[in-house]
Subunit: 200 residues, 2 copies
């Protein structure tokens, strides 16, 4: 290659980022070298620390720097409600909506027998233990509305059958501000089935 | 924020990359933490080394790890031809085309009096010194076909007037494989003016 070994290695290693191919990696490397060195050094340090230092929360499996994540450390968030999500990005989306004030459990995936992902791999036993210990009143199953997400939600619900815990699933329907013409058929069917009186 | 300080800092510092906003930075951070930690650590190291270690070639201003870049270190590339480009990405595009075997001079910009960028800032004096010392036979002005790029090319050509050096500029025309209907008017005008007999 035309450049120095250091530049080549930088371009090559930038490709570990999702959605970054050869061209984008080159553009990023040149940008940092030409006019973003302080940002690049900061990123180097942040990456190094995060890759070795970030672990999973002992209680909810969310990303954490210590035993417990920021949410589990907050006593106001341990109010007997657990929201089960597939990933930290789902948790973040809910947090950014700003309304939910309970705790979480992050599966880091969903059941997928074909890929060898069973209840143990996504921490369902740990979730059941926690529900047993903490005396949870409501479990919100916020897994994705996909075949695997639905199957995972039903599996968890089955395992908790008869324990007197309120188990809920997020409502499906037309996105707020969405146009009917752009909503897919499955969502529209769900929206019809879940229709409510206007006085509600 | 919902996450740990380490994750927050990682997301924040990923935004130094060009074209990466908050959402993309989050997606990148989660991807690395969930299933790309070895790649993330490698990137951390590559960034750290490149940000402190990469300098400019003493001869052509290209990125280099030592005094001279890979091209200037190659005696076969110092054949009396210098191709002047605005940036390392331009150099890379020419290298990847694979045909050119001479040397380069990387301006790292173009003349822009409004922004205070004069001949000194982009190394034109250094280029003229090098031409004097090395006895260059052809200077290819491959600055961009923009107002600034053209002005920079003309400035360099004027400075070398009467020195008996062949000064050339890359041909404008229809891209190979391009469709006429999608080519802009300026390019088409250049292509007409530069037309050649079919026997050529
Ligand atoms: Zn937690
Ligand atoms: Zn060089």
């Amino acid at each position: 290659m035309a450049f120095s070994p250091l530049v080549d290695e930088l371009v090559e290693s930038l490709r570990c980022l999702p959605g970054v191919g050869q061209k984008t990696a080159q553009r990023m490397a040149f940008h940092l070298l030409e006019r973003g060195r302080s940002g690049g050094s900061r990123l180097s340090e942040a990456l190094g620390k995060a890759m070795t230092g970030v672990r999973r929360c002992d209680r909810c499996q969310n990303f954490a720097d210590t035993d417990l994540c920021g949410i589990c450390e907050n006593p106001q968030r341990t109010n007997g409600t657990i929201c089960v999500v597939e990933s930290p990005s789902d948790l973040l989306a809910i947090e950014q909506a700003g309304d939910y004030r309970g705790g979480y459990f992050v599966l880091m995936g969903h059941l997928s027998p074909i890929d060898g992902v069973g209840p143990e791999e996504i921490g369902i036993e740990r979730l059941l233990d926690r529900i047993q210990q903490e005396g949870v009143s409501e479990l919100i199953l916020a897994t994705n509305p996909t075949v695997e997400g639905e199957a995972t939600a039903h599996y968890i619900a089955d395992r908790l059958d008869g324990r007197g815990i309120l188990i809920t699933r997020l409502a499906h329907g037309i996105p707020v501000g969405g146009e009917l013409g752009y909503v897919d058929g499955f969502t529209l069917t769900h929206a019809f089935r879940g229709r409510k009186p206007l006085s509600d």
